[in-house]
Every structure is written in structure tokens, then in C-alpha cells.
């Protein structure tokens, strides 16, 4: 069973980690937007979360509807141990590759 997670999925998993109990559609999207500046669509967030859930990396639960949401329910997500493992591995991989060459990377990026 593969533990590979794509780059966007990694951002989402990190968001779940940060948000703890408070991770649902709105908060996850805003977290990513606020921290990385990326303006992602709500639909893309859900799509990614569904895929992660299928693979067992996250789990979900639904909460009661509120009038503020036009009478619609909220879906909360939580990071599962398997997902944490996948995220950890992905992050470590990047780190290993980046070790020692970040300054040079910055230089190269600046020269563009």
C-alpha cells in the first residue's frame, strides 16, 4: 500500500494537524489561503479530502446544521495515524533532498 501523498494533499494534511478539532471545509481552506497565499476552491479541498479519506489517511464526522449555513451540516476531518505517517515520510523526503542546498536554492531562485 502506497504512502505517497501529492503536494496539495500535504498542505491539507498539515492544515488538519494545525487545526486539530476545528478542521472542516471553511477552516481548512482559509488556513491554506492565509498561510501559503494560495486561493484554492472549496471543491478542490473536498475532492482531496475525500481521496485521503478513501485511503484511510483522514477520517470524518458530520455535525449539526446551522442556520448560518442555510440549514446545512458541517463535515469535520481528523488526521489518522496512517495519514500522519504518510505526511511525515513525505516531509522527511523533502528535507533529506533539501539538506544543505537551501541557500543555493534561494540564490538560484533570486537570479530568475
Amino acid at each position: 500500500m502506497s504512502l505517497h501523498v501529492g503536494e496539495f494533499e500535504q498542505l491539507i494534511l498539515f492544515a488538519l494537524l494545525r487545526l486539530r478539532d476545528d478542521a472542516y471545509g471553511v477552516t481548512v481552506r482559509r488556513e491554506i489561503e492565509a498561510r501559503t497565499g494560495r486561493d484554492v476552491s472549496q471543491g478542490a479541498v473536498y475532492t482531496a479530502l475525500n481521496r485521503l479519506e478513501e485511503r484511510g489517511f483522514v477520517s470524518s464526522r458530520t455535525a449539526d446544521a446551522t442556520p448560518e449555513r442555510g440549514g446545512r451540516r458541517r463535515k469535520y476531518y481528523a488526521l489518522e495515524p496512517l495519514g500522519a505517517r504518510a505526511l511525515h515520510r513525505a516531509y522527511t523526503e523533502v528535507q533529506v533532498m533539501a539538506s544543505g542546498v537551501v541557500p543555493r536554492l534561494a540564490e538560484l531562485a533570486e537570479s530568475a
Binding site: 505517497h4 472549496q42 471543491g43 458541517r74
Partner: protein, 930 residues
């Protein structure tokens, strides 16, 4: 309830909910509303928030929708295993799932296995087709032609022979009445499809019939003045409608009370006439319509597509007894056994066989005719099926159609053979790929299925395209096919589509099965190991055979073309005696009913005088008979002194024409000896003269000279024969000789009305308008001035040969094209395959010339075989179709020679290019590749 979604937001949200169903939609929408609220609370302007909202909706829909589709297709467990989406080929998936699940031979799983095989085969087929769209399009086009030709022919065939007349209840119990008898005049056997009223009355009282009806169809003038038209009208007894079991679309049909001599005249409109002329308005009932010489009140409309039992369109139905008083000039017809004018149909009573009904009808018919010693006592009545063309003996056009159906089927065969060859060639090329697939576990059934499905898909697509064109152009095709007949047009769409679909599937299976079988039987190991070099012989006998068949079919079709073209030329070359080109025929119809023969003659003479001096007219003449239109005889009222009885010809008694001066000049009929009829002859007081035709001169005065001879017409004083005219045709292109004589109009033995005013000019078509104008001005009390080029009466006679020539030519050239393309592609493919062999030969010293000759001789051999086969089949078929031809022998050597030469020439051309390529093979290059 949201405060942020007026207008566009609402629309966007609606669209979103349509695309994204289920729980996801709920969560996403909820999130967006929540965040929108948060933003507004944070101070963002509402407009910006709304814009953000709509943007989010639009961007979120695609990923979620794609997600949903993906979910429906894939197996989540497999996704988990693969780690990503389902992108593998269906073959891999097929193989994988086969190995993954343990094999269980329960019926359910066997069904599933079969279903999966079919599904994979289908998707394989589609993918293969998609890979080479150009080839697929080419094959579709070829199939479209093959299936389309058949669909069109079937439509015509169906209409003529298979489909019973529209709206008739239980058509198999309806019969036409024919009488088979030995004719009094010629002594030959003939069939009578038209009868006298007393004959009909005899049959009407039999109990073997549940109902009988009589009808007579003709062209009558409807309306008057500038809006007047001559349209098809049928006089029918009131019993026709209930006997056929038909219901009116509007109003009612005429009943027995309307169908008497003195009844108020009523009429029923044909459905298409009602649509055309009254726009389908219901208020047409009660309107008064002038039809022929009487005014009728409209009481109803017939149902759509109803044409009685014949094929021709009927615009108005009139009650027979009432209308015939006027149209048949009185009521004499009711008792006369010499007045033939009605067709009769009858519905068999329940439980009665056609034979029993025929016997009863024969008995009563013979009884009725018993007091006429000259009438054939062995005359027999036949109860015939409805599905014959109008005259009861299928017209020549109708008889051509089954042959054309055969032709169309041949074309289909040809296209199948061609497609099969193409597919076979491609299967050969893909030997390795097929072998690989088989090695990886694809079953033989699946490989075969794929091939067949591919071919069926192509032919279905071709068939669909063809049917679309055939239906859309259906009326056009049928008009070309059987042009001239005024049909209630309308193809039974469902039957044509059904037929085409069935044919397409059959064609596809046939075309795809053979290559698929061959391909699947490949020696797997050999194909995988082999370098792709062909076997030494190179080509299968199957492919050669297919090519020979294609060539043969082309040859047969081209022979047909040649024979019909020659028939057409012969028909056009027939010397009619007169010269129809340059003649316009004018017919006058007075207002207020038929005024009698004398008044009509006066009217026509006035008209002729009025045309004097009109520019563009060379000469004019009035006549009581117009060739190809009508003919008259006076039987025993013609006597020649010194002869007890006149000689007889097979064509019947001597025919009389009462004409004015200039008749022979206007008609272009030559006077061989003596002179023609002049203006001075055409007066009451003038001495009586006559002109006879060659045949009459020869038969009546065999020893002496006709000139100076004497004709006594209806006890009038002797009419001296002053001239002998050349023979001319009366009615048809194929006629036996008959006797004819011409007298001045003023001396006509009976007050017949003139049949036409003939006008000769260099360009009849341009005369139409000026003549009509002049006559309308000069003549008062004229209701209709009808003009028609004389040619038009004669041209329909060529119809069937023109039809045959056109269609055979179209199909023949098509076949030739397809066959030559087939030959070319096969040879080209082979040359490519045999490059190494060619290279070796070249290296071993074979000259260019030899290589070219090698390929050419191949192509010519195949074509030659095809020609021989085709000529054999063609001669056999032509002999069977002998009576469809005119003036040409079915074995005409010119046609055979031309066709054979054409075929060989085309084959040389088709083989030429590959041959030339073969000659250019560089031996070094090919040897290096080895």
C-alpha cells in the same frame, strides 16, 4: 436563508446543485455560505463577497463532478492497490481481474465473464477505430453507399410490391377483379383490368363478396380561370370506402344516397390536397368546388396517405353515379356492355377462398355475356392481389425495380468484399500485436468478437448515414427512380430503418467475420518470432478471391449500364413518323360544362384564327386525335366499295383523324404521294377527300393504287383519296402497324370535339405564355387554356430505360471505383510486404522491366478472372431481363467488348502505381535490412 445570493449567485448555485449531487454539495455550499457571512462581518463589501462566492462555486464544480464520475467507474479497492486513478488499459484490467478473482463456474459468473468479454471487445474495437479515424471514415463511407443503395431500393420496392395500400383494413382479403379472355379483334389472349358497368353490376350481387366497389381515375380540371389546374380525380361508388374499411379524417364520405344520378353533387377531398389548397382548415366542409364540368359541395376529407387501391395520388373523390352523368356524357354507360371504363375491387366474404370467389364471378360474368356470340365463352375472372401496379400488369418501371434491388444487393456484396479485404490486410499487418494479446491471455473469442464488432460498428455508422440521406432525400430518390408517377409520397420510415439496420449488421458481420477468423487463427509463436516478412506466396487465396468477385460485380453492373444505354438510344431513335419536337399542344376547356362537339369545334377554330400572326408560330392545325393521347375508330361505319369487309390488323380497326389544313406540316408527318389536307378541303361544301397511311394503302388497295380510291364514311358520299402519308405511331414506342386515315374536320362523320390545337414553332416553350395570353384575350367563355409541349407526352415512354441507364451507370461506376481501389490497395500492400523479396530478385539481376511486369501481370490476372466471371454472370442475367430492353440484344458484343476493355484498362492503372514502386526498390537497402 442567505442574504448573499440574489441574481447570478442564485443561478450559479442552481447550476452547481445540478452538477454536484449528494452529500458533497451540501457541505461545500454550507462552507461557502458560512465563509461569506464571516467575510461580510469582517467588513468586506457585499459585492466583492458575492463575486467571491460565485467564483468559488464555478471553480468547485468541476473537481467535484469529476470525482463523482470517477467514483462511479472505478473500484475503490483497486484504486487503493494501484495508488492512483484507473488509467490502465481495459485489457490489463481484464487480465488482472481474471487473475485476481478465483474462477468459479456458476452460471452467474459465467454470464458475467461473457458480458465482460463483450464489453472489452467492444471497447477494444472502439479504440482501434479511434486510432485511425481516416480509415474508419473511408470504410463508413463505403458501407454507407452499400447499405444506402439498398435502403433506397427497398423503399421503392416496398411501396410498389410489398406494402399494401395505406389505410386499407385486412388488405389480403381485398382483391382486384381481372378478366382473362381471347380478344375479339386480334384473337390473342389478353387480360382486362377495366370493365363495363353491367359487368360490375353482375358481380355486385354475389354473396361470395362482403362488398364490391367500382372506380375510375382520371385528370379533371379543378377550379377555373387562372387558378385552374388539372389534377388527379377518382370517381368511385359509395361502397368503396366501407369496403376498404377506411374512416374519413374530417367530415364524412359520400353514402348511397349521394351516389345516385339525381343527387346533390358532393365531393371528398384528398388529404394532401386539403393541406395544400385549404391549409388544413376544418371549415373546408361546405365549400363548393368546381371539378370537371360540375360544382360539388365538399363533405369531408380522406385520411392521410389514402389513395384507394392504386398508387397514384388522388386529390378529389367524386360519387361515381352522379359524376359520370357529366363526365361520361349521360347514363348510357349503365347498360352498355361495350363501354369499358371502371376498375373493380371486391372484399372476400369471411371463409371464402379467392378460387371459389373467382369461380362464382366467372359463372355470372359468362351468363351476363351469353347473348354476345363474339365474346369469348371461356372468359375467366381472376381475383388478383391488390399489390400490382395500376394496370394490373406491372408497368415496365415497376418490373425494373426488383432487378434494381438485385443490383443494389450486388453493390452491397461488393462493398462487403472490399471492406473485408481492407480489414484482412490490416489484420495481417497487426499480426504481431494480435499475437502479443493472445499470449497475454486474450481469448480467441474475444479477438474474433473485436473484429466483428469493429466491422459491425462501421457498417451501422455507414447505414445510419445512408438512411438519413435516403430519408431526407427519400422523396427525391423516389422521384428520380419512378419519376412521372404522381405518388402519395411517403416512405414507411420504420420499415426502411429496420431493414437497413438489419442489413448493416449482416454486412458488418460478414465483412468482419472472415478477417477476424483468419487473424485469430494466427500461429502465435511464429508471428512473434518472425521479422514481419511475408510468406513466399505472399497472398492468401481468400484475398485474391475477394478481389476477383469485386471485379466480376463491376463487370456485371457495367454490362447492365451498356445495355440500358443502348436501349435508350434505340428508343430515342425510333422513327415515330411525326416530329414531336417544336410542337405545342393547346387544349381549351369552356366554362359552364361540356357544350357538345360542334360548339367545341367552333371554339377551337376561333382559337386557331386568333393565333394567326403571332410571332414565333410556323403553322397551326386542329385535330380530333392527338398521338400518344387518344385514338378513334368508327368500325363498320367505314366502308370501301368493292370490299365486303376491311382487312384487320393486330392493332385493331382503322383509326380516323379529322383535321384542318396544315395538319401534316404542323405535325411533321410526310406525305409520300399526292397531297395533304388543305384549308380549302376543310369546308362543308368542299368535295370530300381523304388521306390514308401507307399501311392502309397497302392493305386495302393491294393491287391497285390507293390514290383515287374511295372511302365511304357513315353513308356519306365517296371521299376520294388524294394522298398517302407515312405511317406513324399511335400510342407507344413499340407498336405493330395499324391503318389510319385523315379527313377534313368539316367532314368528320360524328360531331367529335377536337382533341387539341397543335402549334409548331422553333421554340415551343417560349410560345406558351404568348399563346395563352392571346387565347385568353380573344376567346370569351374559356375556363382553361392548357398548353404542353408535345414532347412531354412522349418522354415518359423512355422512362424505364432512362431509369435503368442512370442507375446502372451510377452503380456500375461506383463498383468500378471501389473494385479498382481495392485492387490498388492490395497490390500496394503486397509490394510493401514483398520488398525484401524484390530486393533479392533485383540484386540477383532481375531488370526493372521484369519487376514491373511481375506486379502488372498479377493485377491483370485477377482483373481478367473477374472479367470472365462477370461476363458469364452478366450474359445469364441479361438473357433473363430480355424484355426490359429495347432494340438491343442481351448478348450485344459491343457492350461486352467495351466493358472488358474498360475493366482491364482500369486494372492496369490500378496496378501501375504499385508496379512502378516495385521497380524502384533499391536492392542494397532491402538486403541491408535483412
Amino acid at each position: 436563508m442567505s442574504r448573499f445570493a440574489p441574481g447570478t449567485s442564485r443561478m450559479a448555485r442552481a447550476l452547481f446543485t445540478v452538477l454536484v449531487r449528494g452529500a458533497d454539495a451540501e457541505f461545500v455550499l454550507g462552507d461557502l455560505e458560512e465563509e461569506a457571512a464571516v467575510r461580510v462581518r469582517a467588513g468586506e463589501p457585499v459585492r466583492d463577497v458575492r463575486r467571491w462566492y460565485v467564483g468559488q462555486l464555478v471553480r468547485s464544480a468541476p473537481p467535484l463532478w469529476g470525482e463523482a464520475v470517477h467514483h462511479r467507474r472505478s473500484d475503490p479497492a483497486r484504486d487503493a492497490r494501484a495508488g492512483r486513478g484507473n488509467r490502465g488499459s481495459s485489457m490489463e484490467a481484464h487480465t488482472e481481474s481474471r487473475t485476481a478473482s478465483p474462477s468459479r463456474t456458476t452460471p452467474a459468473s459465467r454470464w458475467k465473464g461473457w458480458a465482460r468479454t463483450w464489453g472489452c471487445a467492444a471497447s477494444d474495437a472502439v479504440r482501434t477505430l479511434g486510432r485511425s479515424p481516416a480509415r474508419a471514415v473511408a470504410v463508413i463511407a463505403i458501407m454507407a453507399l452499400g447499405v444506402g443503395a439498398n435502403a433506397t431500393m427497398f423503399g421503392a420496392l416496398d411501396r410498389l410490391f410489398l406494402r399494401p395500400p395505406a389505410q386499407v383494413r385486412s388488405p389480403d382479403r381485398m382483391k382486384r377483379i381481372f378478366v382473362h379472355l381471347r380478344r375479339q379483334s386480334s384473337g390473342e389472349m389478353g387480360t382486362q383490368s377495366t370493365h363495363t358497368y353491367p359487368d360490375f353490376a353482375d358481380w355486385r350481387q354475389l354473396d361470395v363478396f362482403a362488398g364490391t366497389a367500382a372506380y375510375s381515375s382520371r385528370q379533371l380540371t379543378i377550379g377555373s380561370g387562372s387558378g385552374a389546374e388539372r389534377l388527379p380525380v377518382t370517381l368511385a361508388t359509395a361502397s368503396l370506402f366501407p369496403t376498404l374499411g377506411v374512416r374519413p379524417a374530417l367530415g364524412r364520405f359520400f353514402g348511397p344516397d349521394d351516389d345516385t344520378f339525381g343527387a346533390e353533387p358532393v365531393a371528398v377531398l384528398g388529404y394532401s390536397y386539403w393541406q395544400r389548397h385549404f391549409g388544413g382548415e376544418p371549415e373546408v366542409v361546405g365549400r363548393v368546388l368546381e371539378v370537371g364540368d360540375l360544382s360539388y359541395t365538399v363533405i369531408g376529407v380522406a385520411p392521410p396517405a389514402f389513395t384507394g387501391v392504386d398508387l397514384d395520388r388522388v386529390d378529389v373523390w367524386l360519387p361515381l353515379h352522379r359524376a359520370a352523368v357529366v363526365e361520361e356524357g349521360g347514363t348510357e354507360w349503365q347498360d352498355s356492355r361495350g363501354w369499358y371504363w371502371v376498375d373493380v375491387v371486391a372484399r372476400l366474404a369471411p371463409g371464402v377462398t379467392p378460387e371459389a370467389a373467382g369461380a362464382a364471378a366467372t359463372r355470372v360474368h359468362r351468363n351476363g355475356r351469353a347473348d354476345n356470340p363474339n365474346y369469348d365463352p371461356q372468359a375467366t375472372v381472376e381475383m388478383a392481389s391488390l399489390n400490382l401496379a395500376r394496370t394490373g400488369e406491372a408497368s415496365r418501371e415497376a418490373r425494373v425495380v426488383p432487378w434494381l434491388m438485385g443490383v443494389a444487393l450486388m453493390v452491397l456484396l461488393l462493398t462487403c468484399a472490399n471492406v473485408a479485404n481492407l480489414l484482412l490486410a490490416r489484420a495481417m499487418r497487426r499480426r504481431r500485436e494480435t499475437a502479443v494479446r493472445r499470449a497475454l491471455g486474450a481469448s480467441r473469442a474475444r479477438v474474433i468478437l473485436t473484429g466483428v464488432i469493429e466491422a459491425v460498428l462501421l457498417s451501422l455508422a455507414g447505414g445510419a448515414a445512408a438512411v438519413a440521406v435516403a430519408l431526407w432525400g427519400g422523396d427525391l430518390f423516389q422521384a428520380i427512380l419512378l419519376g412521372g408517377a404522381e405518388w402519395e409520397r411517403g416512405v414507411d420510415t420504420l420499415r426502411v430503418i429496420g431493414f437497413s439496420a438489419g442489413l448493416a449488421v449482416l454486412a458488418g458481420v460478414f465483412a468482419g467475420l472472415v478477417p477476424a477468423l483468419r487473424a485469430s487463427r494466427q500461429d502465435t509463436a511464429g508471428a512473434l518470432k518472425g521479422s514481419g516478412r511475408g510468406t513466399t506466396r505472399g497472398r492468401s487465396r481468400l484475398r485474391s478471391g475477394l478481389l476477383v468477385i469485386q471485379a466480376a460485380i463491376s463487370v456485371v453492373l457495367l454490362i447492365g449500364t451498356g445495355l440500358f444505354v443502348l436501349s435508350l438510344r434505340a428508343a430515342r431513335g425510333v422513327d415515330l413518323g411525326f416530329d414531336p419536337d417544336g410542337v405545342l399542344i393547346v387544349r381549351l376547356q369552356p366554362e359552364g360544362g361540356y357544350p357538345g362537339g360542334e360548339a367545341m369545334t367552333v371554339l377551337y377554330r376561333e382559337g386557331r384564327r386568333a393565333l394567326e400572326g403571332l410571332p414565333g408560330i410556323e403553322s397551326t392545325a386542329i385535330t380530333t386525335t392527338v398521338p400518344f393521347r387518344n385514338a378513334r375508330g368508327i368500325g363498320d361505319d367505314l366502308r370501301v366499295p368493292g370490299l365486303d369487309s376491311l382487312p384487320r390488323t393486330a392493332a385493331g380497326g382503322a383509326y380516323i383523324h379529322a383535321v384542318t389544313g396544315d395538319y401534316f406540316e404542323t405535325l411533321g408527318l410526310d406525305i409520300l404521294r399526292g397531297r395533304g389536307i388543305t384549308e380549302s378541303d376543310d369546308a362543308e361544301s368542299a368535295p370530300r377527300v381523304a388521306v390514308v397511311n401507307e399501311t392502309m394503302a397497302r392493305l386495302v388497295w393491294p393491287d391497285g393504287d390507293a390514290l383515287g380510291g374511295c372511302l365511304i364514311l357513315a353513308d356519306a358520299p365517296c371521299a376520294t383519296v388524294v394522298g398517302i402519308a407515312e405511317d406513324s405511331h399511335r400510342f407507344e414506342l413499340e407498336e405493330t402497324e395499324s391503318m389510319a386515315y385523315y379527313v377534313p374536320l368539316a367532314h368528320a362523320p360524328y360531331p367529335w370535339p377536337p382533341s387539341g390545337l397543335m402549334v409548331r414553332g422553333p421554340s415551343p416553350r417560349t410560345l406558351t405564355a404568348p399563346v395563352q395570353r392571346r387565347l385568353n384575350e380573344a376567346l370569351s367563355g374559356v375556363r382553361l387554356v392548357g398548353t404542353e409541349p408535345f414532347r412531354n407526352s412522349i418522354d415518359p415512354s423512355y422512362g424505364s430505360w432512362r431509369l435503368g441507364a442512370t442507375l446502372f451507370m451510377a452503380f456500375g461506376l461506383l463498383a468500378l471505383l471501389v473494385a479498382s481501389m481495392g485492387l490498388y490497395s492490395m497490390l500496394a500492400f503486397e509490394v510493401a510486404e514483398r520488398r525484401p523479396e524484390m530486393g533479392v530478385r533485383s540484386a540477383l539481376g532481375a531488370t526493372r522491366g521484369r519487376l514491373v511486369r511481375l506486379v502488372l501481370s498479377d493485377g491483370l490476372r485477377l482483373a481478367g478472372l473477374g472479367v470472365v466471371l462477370g461476363i458469364g454472370v452478366g450474359l445469364w442475367a441479361a438473357a433473363r431481363a430480355r424484355d426490359l430492353l429495347f432494340g438491343v440484344s442481351p448478348h450485344d458484343p459491343r457492350v461486352l467488348a467495351v466493358v472488358a476493355a474498360a475493366m482491364l484498362l482500369v486494372s492496369v492503372a490500378a496496378s501501375g502505381v504499385p508496379a512502378w514502386r516495385a521497380a524502384r526498390v533499391d536492392p542494397n537497402e532491402t538486403l541491408r535490412a535483412e
